[in-house]
């Protein structure tokens, strides 16, 4: 009990004991891994061959379907990252990462961890977020020289601040066409030296200090107010971000999100809404790392507020290559 108390208080001495034992145990484990690999492979072949064949067929079909979408998505991501960088906002692209391979699953039934083949020698530290190709999968909890343990997002001890991005149910405001006399002209917007208009287009030549004079073509309906209505998205129609805490609930059970603001209405959350990490100085992960989507909204009685069940985008039962972001949260670096 003394040792348990020491370890729960993050004692340095228990960490040293773990590290020392890790040094002794690691070679034994590696030898045993080599020796038992054929047995493990035989077991997997016996148990999972049919599933693998079915999955392979299904994945081939999915790959064919998604090839086109991937190109468009990659372009959007690139554009988004450029915009974020342009505005000085943090992006994942700006954080270095280490690629690691899963070399072992948890040997117990009461923890959700995997072992990876990179450790402190590669710059990995406790608390760093871990992703796979789909999204966030967990965080580093123990680091040795050339290996580390990663607690999965489904472990009941895992908690992360997240935001739910959903669209407001309010309808956009459609403004009537402005009277021509009230319509702002380009002249009032730009410092204009010479303006000539035609019936179809308005051509404005501008001279702005530092710029080579150019030509800007503006569609007539914008300049004249025209006959078209202008749809203005009200602020609340833009993506609404509800902040909450994601908690793991063990294997085979979906993680949940509890809201920080108990007044959040369940009707404001849509099934399928994406869940991303909230970020912030004390968060375990940088902002906007994809975690999952809302699969069910559970309304609770009283003032407790709704709880969301989450479908994780990463398949935690089939992890192979992972990416450890070299981003250590302040809360973990203090330890």
């Amino acid at each position: 009990m003394f040792l348990v108390t020491l370890d729960l208080a993050d004692s340095a001495s228990t960490s040293r004991v773990r590290r020392a034992f890790g040094v002794v145990f690691s070679p034994v484990e590696q030898v045993m891994r080599v020796v038992t690999r054929p047995l493990g492979n035989a077991w997997n072949a016996f148990r999972e061959y049919d599933d693998v064949v079915d999955e392979n067929d299904r994945l081939k079909e999915q790959v064919a379907l998604q090839e086109g979408a991937t190109v468009a998505a990659a372009a959007s991501v690139r554009l988004s990252q450029e915009l974020l960088a342009l505005n000085g906002l943090p992006t994942l692209a700006g954080i270095n990462s280490v690629t690691a391979q899963v070399i072992g699953e948890t040997p117990t039934n009461f923890s959700q961890t995997v072992e990876i083949n990179q450790g402190s020698n590669a710059g990995i530290r406790v608390g760093m977020p871990v992703l796979n190709a789909a999204g966030l999968i967990g965080k580093v909890t123990e680091v040795f020289g050339d290996r580390a343990l990663v607690m999965l997002i489904s472990d009941p001890d895992y908690a992360l601040s997240v935001k739910v991005v959903t669209m407001s149910s309010r309808t956009p405001v459609t403004l009537p066409p402005l009277p021509v006399e009230d319509t702002p002209t380009v002249d009032t917007v730009l410092e204009t030296t010479d303006t000539s208009s035609t019936s179809s287009t308005s051509t404005t030549t501008t001279t702005i200090k530092g710029f080579t004079p150019g030509t800007t073509t503006v569609p007539p309906e914008v300049v004249a107010g025209g006959a078209s209505n202008i749809t203005v998205p009200v602020a609340s129609q833009l993506a609404v971000r509800e902040t909450g805490i994601l908690e793991g609930r063990g294997p085979g059970t979906r993680p949940i999100v509890r809201f920080l603001d108990a007044t959040t209405r369940a009707s404001a959350i849509e099934v399928g809404a994406p869940i991303v990490s909230a970020g912030g100085s004390r968060s375990l992960a940088p902002p906007d790392v994809v975690v999952g989507v809302v699969s069910r909204v559970v309304e609770r009685l009283g003032t407790a507020g709704p709880v969301l069940e989450i479908d994780l985008v990463a398949d935690l039962s089939n992890l192979s290559f992972l990416r450890v972001l070299l981003y250590q949260p302040i809360t973990e670096s203090e330890k």
């Binding site: 009990m1 003394f2 040792l3 348990v4 020491l6 370890d7 729960l8 228990t14 004991v17 773990r18 034992f21 890790g22 002794v24 145990f25 034994v28 484990e29 030898v31 045993m32 891994r33 038992t36 047995l39 493990g40 077991w43 997997n44 072992g104 699953e105 948890t106 040997p107 117990t108 039934n109 009461f110 923890s111 961890t113 909890t141 123990e142 343990l149 607690m151 009941p156 001890d157 793991g248 609930r249 063990g250 294997p251 085979g252 059970t253």
Partner: protein, 174 residues
């Protein structure tokens, strides 16, 4: 000095550490992959229970504490938690066979399997006691059942291993 070192190396407790290292390596490699119905067979718990079933309550408890401490060192659980549980497993296995004057091999196998299954059910309870909640779920029943049947399969060879590991050589000062 050298003779004392030799005595330590030749002692059954030193042998226990070496054998437990191998069993632990089996647990973290082969038995973390082989998961009947999604549950890992806890071969280390069966090993500890076998030590209790072939020896006394004290020996069972000490083997459990040592093996559990080693298990804790490779897991992310608080150091000492699995040691407590494994200590209880070793002691329970010994208590289960104590009423019998000369228990048959199958009684020891049964006792070891029952004790190991009990240990698997006890672990989430102990985790909750120290504040690591969330594991008290219905799946404990599945985990205990898989460990029990795993014990029935693996206890017999492990009984032989624990007998060899913990045998005392008369006159060697163990």
């Amino acid at each position: 000095m050298f003779e004392r070192l030799l005595r330590v190396v030749a002692s059954r407790w030193f042998r226990l550490v070496l054998v437990a290292l191998v069993v632990l390596a089996l647990q973290t490699t082969l038995f973390s992959q082989i998961r009947p119905f999604g549950y890992a067979v806890q071969i280390l718990a069966v090993f500890v229970a076998c030590a209790g079933a072939t020896h006394s309550v004290q020996v069972g408890a000490v083997v459990g504490l040592v093996s559990g401490l080693m298990y804790d060192a490779v897991l992310a659980t608080p150091l000492g938690l699995t040691a407590l549980v494994c200590g209880a497993v070793g002691a329970l296995a010994a208590v289960l066979v104590q009423p019998f004057r000369d228990p048959a091999w199958w009684m020891r196998v049964l006792a070891a399997s029952l004790a190991a299954a009990f240990g698997e059910a006890l672990l989430p309870v102990m985790k909750s006691v120290v504040g690591l909640g969330g594991w008290l779920q219905f799946r404990i029943v599945g985990v205990a059942l898989v460990t029990f049947f795993g014990g029935l399969v693996f206890a017999l060879p492990l009984l032989t291993v624990t007998r060899w590991t913990l045998r005392e050589r008369i006159g060697r000062g163990d």
